[in-house]
């Protein structure tokens, strides 16, 4: 009973917060609601006896990614009048419809009765079992992620790095290339 209660609270909080992420105009509030959603999801992970994943969810998302998000959004400090006119109002309708269709499909999927509860093996969700999966069965994709991160970091450096001083000196006058 307590499990049910916690599930419903976390699920409803997650859904309401997620909806507010989308509809709120204030970007900072949106990010904060996203954090709430992520915490609620972590609670659901806990209920699925995936404690390790739940903790990582909070450390990685709420702790690292969302803090960066907040940083950027706060630095940009977007105000309502900077959004401009809503250029494609029908897209909102279309998005709602697509979301509703997706929801209906998911409900029929879960309500279809073919999805059944499975018993959890011993040690499921523990650090040990996740470690064995990552470094055993999924070793190759796991190692690939490091490559992906290296490439992403290098790419970010290329985008963000300013021209060094000698390159500026050697450059042709502005407007000759790329300003077309």
């Amino acid at each position: 009973m307590a499990d049910q209660f916690i599930f419903w609270v976390a699920a409803i909080v997650a859904i309401i917060a997620a909806i507010r992420v989308v509809i709120l105009k204030n970007a900072v509030l949106s990010v904060l609601h996203l954090i709430v959603t992520l915490i609620a999801l972590a609670v659901l992970f806990l209920q699925l006896s995936a404690e390790f994943i739940a903790a990582l969810q909070i450390i990685v998302y709420a702790g690292a990614i969302m803090v960066l998000f907040l940083f950027i959004v706060m630095l940009l400090n977007l105000r309502k009048d900077e959004f401009g006119r809503d250029q494609l109002p029908w897209l909102r309708l279309l998005g709602t419809l697509a979301g509703a269709a997706f929801l209906a499909e998911l409900i029929s999927l879960i309500g279809g009765g073919r999805v059944m509860a499975a018993t959890v093996p011993d040690g499921f969700g523990s650090v040990r079992s996740i470690g064995i999966a990552l470094f055993g069965e999924y070793m190759f994709p796991f190692e690939l992620t490091s490559l992906l991160l290296v490439a992403a970091v290098l790419a970010a450096v290329v985008v963000a790095r300013r021209k060094s001083s000698n390159e500026v000196d050697a450059a042709p006058p502005a407007g000759s290339e790329g300003e077309a």
Partner: protein, 491 residues
């Protein structure tokens, strides 16, 4: 867990040797450029030699190693060889075609080639991935550097916009793809394609129907790939990105990245989704028809040559997918052959645009008027590539279209072939318009110009590819067919 086995370990790493080699040099080139320790004009030469070396290693691996590595998450089968070679050819041509563009960059010249090589690593891994997580990560690896490359002229508004659009739509499409993968994992409990196929089959046998949600999963994956392939109706990003990105990158995007996505698509749907063909084959037929119609119809009204080629490539993907409705080795062969023909023709066409824009600074179709007088070589090459894209014999494009249509007709998709033929006529119209403008201008334009030497070489190689594939297809088709038979399960 299986105990550690040293022989297996070496065999695993030997199988990914080409990727390791390419990665090593990608890191060296990028690192040297970031640290500023290199004469940046040499990076391009380095990059080309790296890819030639990778090609050589790939051939060596193809000869000496065989089969799966890393517990079946990675294979080096014949299909992988075919597509790796296509991708590497695309990368070499891109690198060679970039020389002029890069020399006019004000900064980050060396990193440019590094990024291309990183992307190539991702693509090569992608065509070998037989497991959805590996596939997804390889896909991200190949796109994350392309985002930067698309925005490489970052002070140019259009290039910056191209990069941003590509990032956002790339992110959304990855999310959609992952959602599908997650549902598929939930249904079958595995991410390995072969076992997914078995799982679907078993559930079908047990209950007489497909598990609920399978259609949703496959459609989401299809949509995800649709974005990556710029398949209508998921093509909205392509024209803007193609137009804004530096032209060699546009060529790279439209050729190598599509070839990789296509190979992954073949594996996912021909192997993993094979038992569920009833669900997706109609959807693919519909998308292919839509892509051919939308792509060709929109291409007609374009005034910018890069946008026209962007829409034309949307249509070309539609033609390739016509081959996918024939879920057999022949279908896979026709798609792979089409990908090759498209590689040379499209690459060549974009290199013509580069050569033209380098001298005239224009990318408008109207400015191509009278090109046959100003630069007969360039006009000749361009006409050849456009004819191949249109599918006129004796170019490779003709045979490619013939093969995919033949494959579809065998399976009774006559309506789809009719759509294909009809849209080909439309396509011929706008390709021919450009050719007509070049050869029969309304008024004379003056000022001849030469074509840079590296670009001429790239053009010549592409033209050779287009003609050889068109006139002597036998050996290549046999080669691809053997590859297709090795991986498509017997129906």
């Amino acid at each position: 867990m299986t105990p550690f086995n040293l022989t297996q370990f070496y065999a695993d790493w030997a199988t990914i040797l080409p990727e390791c080699f390419l990665l090593l040099w990608a890191c060296v080139i990028t690192g040297a450029a970031v640290l500023g320790r290199t004469d940046e004009s040499k990076s391009g030469t380095f990059a080309i030699w790296t890819i030639i070396g990778t090609l050589a290693t790939a051939v060596w691996v193809a000869v000496t190693q065989d089969g799966a590595a890393f517990g079946g998450t990675f294979v080096f089968d014949r299909l992988a060889v075919v597509f790796k070679e296509v991708i590497l050819a695309g990368v070499i041509l891109t690198a060679a075609a970039s020389v002029g563009t890069v020399s006019r960059l004000r900064a980050h010249r060396g990193e440019y080639y590094g990024m291309i090589l990183f992307s190539a690593v991702g693509m090569m891994l992608m065509v070998s991935a037989t497991e959805l997580l590996t596939l997804y990560i390889a896909l991200e690896l190949s796109t994350v550097t392309l985002f930067v490359l698309a925005a490489y002229h970052k002070t140019n508004r259009k290039s910056a916009e191209a990069g941003l659009k590509y990032v956002i739509l790339g992110g959304i499409s990855s999310a959609i793809l992952l959602y599908g993968v997650a549902i598929l994992y939930g249904l079958t409990g595995t991410t390995e394609l072969a076992r997914i196929s078995q799982g679907i089959q078993r559930q079908f046998m047990a209950s007489g129907s497909f598990p609920p949600g399978l259609a949703l999963a496959l459609l989401l994956i299809l949509a995800g790939f649709g974005f990556k392939l710029a398949l209508a109706p998921f093509h909205m990003w392509a024209p803007d990105v193609y137009e804004g990105a530096p032209t060699p990158i546009t060529a790279f995007l439209s050729v190598a990245s599509k070839a990789a996505a296509l190979a992954a698509f073949l594996r996912v749907f021909f192997v993993g989704g094979q038992p569920a063909q009833l669900i997706w084959i109609q959807a693919i037929a519909a998308l292919a028809a839509l892509a051919m119609i939308v792509g060709n119809a929109t291409a007609i009204v374009q005034t910018n040559i890069k946008r026209m080629l962007a829409y034309s490539s949307v249509a070309q993907i539609g033609y390739m997918l016509v081959g996918a409705v024939a879920l057999d080795p022949w279908g896979a062969t026709s798609i792979s052959y089409y990908a090759m023909a498209y590689l040379f023709a499209n690459m060549g066409a974009f290199v013509c645009v580069i050569a033209f824009a380098e001298r005239t600074g224009s990318e408008e179709i109207s400015d191509f008027s009278g090109l046959s007088r100003r630069s007969p070589i360039l006009a000749g090459f361009f006409a050849l590539f456009l004819l191949s894209l249109a599918g006129v014999p004796p170019t490779a494009g003709f045979l490619a279209k013939y093969y995919v249509f033949a494959a579809a007709i065998q399976k009774g998709y006559l309506w789809l072939v009719l759509v294909g033929v009809a849209t080909s006529v439309v396509a011929l119209y706008y390709y021919a318009t450009v050719i007509m403008k070049m050869y029969f201008p309304a008024e004379q334009t003056e000022g001849g110009f030469p074509v840079a030497r590296t670009l001429t070489i790239v053009l010549a190689v592409s033209a050779l590819g287009v003609l050889l594939l068109g006139i002597l297809p036998g050996p290549v088709v046999d080669w691809i067919k053997a590859a297709a038979q090795s991986f498509v399960p017997p129906t």
